[in-house]
Amino acid sequence: MRRFSWFNATSLTLGFAFLYLPMVILIIYSFNASKLVTVWAGFSTKWYGELMQNEAFLDAAWVTIKVAVISSTIATALGTMAAIVMVRSGRFLGRTLFSGMIYAPLVMPEVITGLSLLLLFIGIGLDRGVLTIVLAHTTFSMCYVSVVVSSRLVSFDQSLEEAALDLGCSPFQAFFLVTLPIIAPAVISGWLLAFTLSLDDLVIASFTSGPSATTLPMKIWSSVRLGVSPEINALSTIMIGIVTIGVITASLVSKSTVARQQREERAAERLSAG
């Protein structure tokens, strides 16, 4: 094992401090009793209590969760379908163009995605609100889902589906009874990824929302402009918590599936050897 030198320890500490110190400060100050964000006046959870009384924040939170659940669900369905087409259909005319177009939004600046969606919604005369945010979020998060699902499908043994057909399934049944249960971990982690992306998003939501719908990141952004309040700190802490849980669950779901498979395969090998 490599020696843990002072240099390594220092660079590791500095690196993590750079990444997480701001968030740690935010979390600590969310428990500050003082109204002033920069002066520590003892531990208190009162800002969390006040947050629960704040109608505007609660409304925004409700909108955010609604948008995140609906958009990530639609994105998962569309992204999975796109992944299946990309992996299964082999070569067809315009395949490269099509796959490029699926992945392009991953690298597209959010401002441009937001602006172009705004122009589209104005162009077709769609009133901006929850619906338009859902559509916008579905658009960009479905690429992430299709990346996650297609990387799983590449290693999927296609004879499993053929076996299902051979045993009397219609192609539709074969997908739902065999393919989907097997790729489910990838689909679930795709959904969680889409969910957290939608939860975080400020830029695209700002472009595509209307006066009737404000998401939590938008609400935080607009109230911070009037000054940082401990309430915002409390709210941000809750969001960090939700996102962290989402990301950790997503990685645990895929990791534990892999670990379980490996464990069981090893057990099977022992069994066949012995």
């Binding site: 043994d157 004879s159 499993l160 053929e162 076996a163 299902a164 057909l165 051979d166 045993l167 009397g168 399934c169 219609s170 049944q173 009874l177 065999v178 249960p181 097997i182 498979q261 069981e264 395969e265 057990a267 099977a268 069994l271 066949s272």
Partner: protein, 374 residues
């Protein structure tokens, strides 16, 4: 005691269960199966044998319905299969990779096909239990596929494909993933199950020993065509071409020129200063025509002294392959031709007679070899 020999292919009134009629399958410009016509009969254990890329797997996939023929027709019990999708065919397949559903237990894997038929629950349970008994898997019913060994997985795959009692079972390299010992045991198990269930089996394999062991008839394929279809003894003893002779088992191939016929015997001249080989042809050879003489190593006798047999050649031992039960000697004749001679080691090692560089005689009888045109 007289016994009925199972040979429906000799009976002109027998109805074949599968008929390939001039079937061609092209992938782009490449013909994987090329104008192929063959009948397969009920209760047969039919083996498609050939090197990889010869079209045997394509034939099987066409029977299962995963590929459609480019030209020609495939008939199952007299009915054209072209418009029938894989899930509506009374045909089941056992996949090379087994393709067991990893998220289902052994029991549910076997029940999978039965559930699609919408049978009542107790009937499904009875049938699954019957299949588990047949394949001796009762103890593993609740296990997942990755919790059992390779040999057990192979039996689950077989049980699953037999559960729906198909008219026809297709086996794609079913024993390829097993080690040699287990493979031999499983071959006998397969034959046993085939006899018990009375299902028609079509097996695809590149292992000629496997095909010879299990099959009632073997079709040797090459480049999308069937070169020869015959029972295992016929295909071994009377191959119709050098390709088949060379593909099945070990063979000595000697090229020569046909001489004059003498009764039913033909003399073949094949090297300067060497006596003609006398063979018994099944077809007519014109004088001067190129002829290949094929003889199996175990039909070549190797001796120290000149044998009484008139077809005998002097040579020296070049190589010895000791296989335990058999020894194969590579004997070089004066013209450089190498003849493989095989003897059974029915005595223990003390009496081994030949060693490297020994001058020996190789000989055979005039009916031991086969004369081939190509």
């Amino acid at each position: 005691m007289p016994q009925d020999v199972f040979a429906p292919w000799l009976d002109p009134d027998a109805n074949p269960i599968i008929q390939f009629k001039n079937v061609t399958k092209k992938f782009g410009d490449f013909a994987a199966v090329d104008d192929l016509t063959i009948d397969i009969y009920e209760r047969e254990f039919f083996a498609l044998l050939g090197p990889s890329g010869c079209g045997k797997t394509t034939m099987m996939r066409m029977l299962a319905g995963f590929e459609a023929p480019t030209e020609g027709h495939i008939l199952l019990s007299g009915q054209d299969m072209a418009p029938v999708p894989p899930n509506k065919r009374a045909v089941n397949m056992m996949f090379q990779s087994y393709a067991l559903f990893p998220h289902l237990s052994v029991w549910n894997n076997i029940a999978f096909g039965l559930r699609r038929n919408g049978l009542p629950k107790d009937e499904i349970a009875a049938r699954v239990d019957e299949m588990l008994r047949l394949t001796r898997l009762e103890k593993f019913a609740r296990r997942k596929p990755h919790q059992i060994s390779g040999g057990q997985r192979q039996r689950v795959a077989l049980a699953r494909s037999l559960a729906k009692a198909p008219k026809l079972l297709l086996l794609d390299e079913p024993l390829g993933a097993l080690d040699k010992k287990l493979r031999q045991e499983t071959q006998f198990e397969l034959m046993d199950i085939q006899e018990k269930t009375g299902t028609t089996f079509v097996i695809v394999t590149h292992d000629q020993e496997e095909a010879m062991t299990v099959a009632s008839r073997v079709a040797v394929m090459d480049h999308g065509k069937i070169v020869q279809v015959a029972t295992p003894p016929d295909i071994y003893e009377t191959p119709n071409s050098t390709y088949v002779a060379d593909f099945i088992g070990d063979v000595n191939l000697i090229e020569g020129k046909a001489g004059a016929m003498d009764g039913d015997k033909l003399a073949i001249s094949w090297g300067e200063g060497l006596a003609d080989i006398i063979g018994t042809p099944h077809t007519n050879f014109d004088k001067g025509q190129t002829v290949y003489f094929a003889i199996r190593p175990e039909k070549v006798t190797i001796t120290h002294d000149k044998p009484a047999n008139p077809i005998a050649f002097r040579g020296k031992v070049l190589d010895i392959a000791y296989l335990g039960n058999l020894s194969t000697y590579h004997v070089e004749l004066p013209n450089g031709q190498i003849i493989k001679a095989q003897t059974a080691n029915n005595r223990r090692i003390s009496r081994r007679g030949f060693t490297w560089e020994d001058k020996v005689w190789v000989s055979w009888t005039d009916t031991a070899g086969v004369l081939l045109e190509n």
